[in-house]
């Protein structure tokens, strides 16, 4: 049997204002309200609303056979309520179909797992609380920001016994030739690891509308054939798990409606539902369907799903990023120790990984991707605004 696990990341950062040196000490807002509202509404119209509609329809029509999973970050839900309550409602509707599993991550979509483990645990707790409050659930599956994972993370997550499964990137350098279709155990055997099949995930997420791609145009028939071909590797009847993980913005925002992405998804899922040997699964259900004991997997250094390197370099490859990140966690610790509860949520919003992504100055093709996502003209300016804001906060902390 081949099980397909769809997982979509839903996130929006609070982008910072063009906060100049001379704005320090003024009452200028740290976050660019107008920009954030604009982006949210744009993505809501292009992606969240139509994609939710599509998946809801697919779930209802499949009579419970089609299943997907999401993680909704805390900052996303805050913005949804703030800028577009109908998006929030639309996710609630979708959730009520029963075909959706919600998984947990850091509330602020941060890299706290790298810089401040106490804060990391705190942000997961905050997300658990959010899930309880909004959906009345306690997720048992965890995904770290941008699928960042390393051995020690599994140890740290023992603080949350309810977490049983972790989603990670099926990076070549950790699999060393093994297939990502077989789930693995963390090095301490405490967690089940589901590995993203990056080839088939990225065919949809990145390459779908790329005219220079040799497989363009990608049809549902072609894609389903690739999926079926995967089963050829297994001759002993072990279940396979195809993990298709991607940004939710894939549908309508990264791949425009005009590219035919929605029709492609509908058709692909309809075809897959007709296959006897293929089933959709929630990440938390993998445990129960496994008909073998997974092998252990060691990941000594962090992997992620970002850029061609699939490591931390998208957020931590230059000194600007290091200095900015190190400083924000220092200030956050200081704010906590001084009990400055009014500054803590602001600093937490500044831990969101996107801020550091905008400061990236790697070259080659990923530079273009970073530029595409960045609201600022230059990485230097992204850094300047960010540091100016931290300076203002630092001054306030001294009061």
């Amino acid at each position: 049997m081949l099980f397909i696990i769809f997982y979509f990341q839903v996130h929006q950062p609070f982008r910072v204002s063009k906060y100049s040196f001379f704005d320090i000490g003024s009452s200028k807002s740290y976050f660019d309200e107008e920009l954030n509202r604009y982006v949210f509404n744009k993505v809501a119209d292009r992606c969240y609303l139509p994609a939710n509609e599509m998946f809801k329809e697919l779930i209802l029509r499949s009579e419970g056979l089609f299943k997907i999973s999401y993680s909704l970050t805390g900052t996303f839900l805050e913005q949804a309520k703030l800028y577009r309550p109908e998006v929030y409602k639309s996710f609630l509707d979708l959730w009520q179909t029963g075909g959706v599993e919600l998984i947990t991550e850091t509330y602020y979509h941060s890299l706290a797992s790298i810089f401040d483990l106490d804060e990391f645990l705190e942000q997961i707790s905050e997300h658990f609380e959010l899930m309880k409050r909004e959906f009345g659930i306690e997720p048992s599956v965890f995904r770290n920001t941008e699928l960042i994972y390393f051995d020690k993370l599994s140890d740290v997550l023992l603080n949350f016994p309810q977490i049983k499964t972790i989603l990670i990137e099926g990076a070549d350098r950790i699999l060393m030739g093994d297939s990502p279709l077989y789930p693995r155990l963390s090095y301490n055997h405490a967690h089940l690891l589901l590995l993203k099949h990056y080839k088939l995930s990225d065919d949809i997420a990145f390459r779908f509308s790329d005219r220079s791609w040799s497989e363009y145009p990608l049809t549902a028939e072609k894609y389903v054939k690739w999926v079926k071909d995967l089963t050829l590797i297994e001759r002993e009847g072990r279940n396979l798990y195809l993990c298709l993980f991607m940004d939710y913005e894939t549908f309508g925002e990264h791949q425009w409606k005009e590219s035919g992405i929605f029709e492609f998804m509908k058709k692909t899922i309809e075809l897959l539902l007709q296959e006897k040997e293929i089933k959709f699964l929630f990440p938390s259900e993998v445990h129960q369907t496994l008909n073998y004991t997974p092998k252990g997997l060691s990941v000594p250094t962090p992997t992620s799903w970002a850029d061609t390197e699939r490591d931390l370099s998208a957020w931590l490859s230059n000194s600007l990023q290091w200095n900015a990140m190190k400083t924000v966690y220092e200030l956050l610790r200081k704010a906590k120790s001084k009990g400055r509860s009014e500054l803590i949520p602001i600093l937490k919003k500044l831990t969101t990984s996107d801020h550091f992504y905008y400061m990236c100055i790697k070259y080659f093709q990923d530079g273009d991707v970073h530029k595409y996502f960045s609201p600022y003209d230059l990485p230097e300016n992204a850094y300047k605004y960010y540091i100016n804001i931290l300076t203002d906060l630092e001054e306030k902390l001294e009061e």
Binding site: F21, L320, N323, A324, K326, T327, N381, K384, L390, T391
Partner: protein, 434 residues
Amino acid sequence: MRVLMLTWEYPPFIVGGLGMACYGLFKALSELGVRIKMLLPTEEEVFFEINNPYEADFPLAKRKDGESLSPTPLKFFNFLYKIPEESVYAELKPFLESVPPEIHKKVEFKEVPEEVIQRLTKILSQNNSLLYKVFLYAQKVVKISQKTSFDLIHAHDWLTYPAGLFLKKIFKKPLIAHLHATEFDRALGFGHPVIHEIEYLGLTYSDCVIAVSNYTKGIALEHYHLPSEKIQVVHNGFIAKEKIVKKIKKFKEPVILFLGRLTPQKGPTIFLEIAKKVLSTGIKARFVIAGAGEMERELMLEAASMGIGTHIMFTGFLSREEVEKALSLADIVVMPSPSEPFGIVALEAMYFENALIISKQSGASEIIENAYKVDFWDVDKMVEIILDLIHHPEKMKSLQKKAKAEVQKFTWDGPAKKVLSLYQRLLKEGSCSS
């Protein structure tokens, strides 16, 4: 006295200190009765008249027939402007050939030889956008000056020297080359060979050279082999605004400011090194790097790699108003330029009540008393001074007050009078050597 002023910068069209120096000097000269026609690198064929101090603040653009141009915003040469080589020759040649017949003169000025003109024409016709602009400027200046009467030509820095030499050749009027900066300062050593050549020709075939400092005079003597008596030193002044300076306390910690273009000439990396050493003592202070330039990314990466959080800050490009804001929130200003012909920032810093540390390799250090003067490479010394000032606020305060008091005497009055007497001597005696 009617002077044709050739300059590449004038407020609000400013890149560096040249524009501010010209503004101060022209305004003070107009107060002394000098009538100025200024030629800027505009796309339009216009000149600007400054006949009184008010017009120095708002110079009027006029067409060559003397008609005022309605106050439309002027277009300055944009960077990639280029015209075919042939047409440049075609435009300039007739003027060069139709040099007016020799008229009887009281004074013989050193001629600009035909070869110099030919050489300039050749090097400026290369495929280089900046040199092209210099050529276009020269061409425009020659065209406009035909209907203008003037007694002498005063050219500011190398960008305008070729225009000055062409004018001198055609109109047989004396030429003053004003040296605000040399290519040796900008490049910290040998720079662009063509620019060196233009500087050499301009200085050699002018009738008088004004240097902004003894330091700059020294460079001209050493590298361009000019006779010492040909170079007169006139230090820059400073226009004190009427308004009262108000210090702003923006940060709880003392602010140490670097203000200038982020180029090697201004020494921003030296400033970073100072910051690193001061902060490593555990002292709390904010180091602000104000300005834009090609070294920005390099400096930012370097600063961030020191892991100093928010204690080294970058402002990016500053408007004039922001420059003043930056100066009024600082406590100490450091000007660590490895080679600074003058350094007007030093005077501005004093006006805004800052304690001042300047490199000995600067023109300003020749006239300022109330500042620490340190060799630009002596980072440890500068660190020591900063720590001392931070630990002794009364000392810092008193130095700031002294600086403020001293800067009042650096008006443009004196320098303008000196320049006027050079004009008079040049017209009377054919040279400005005393």
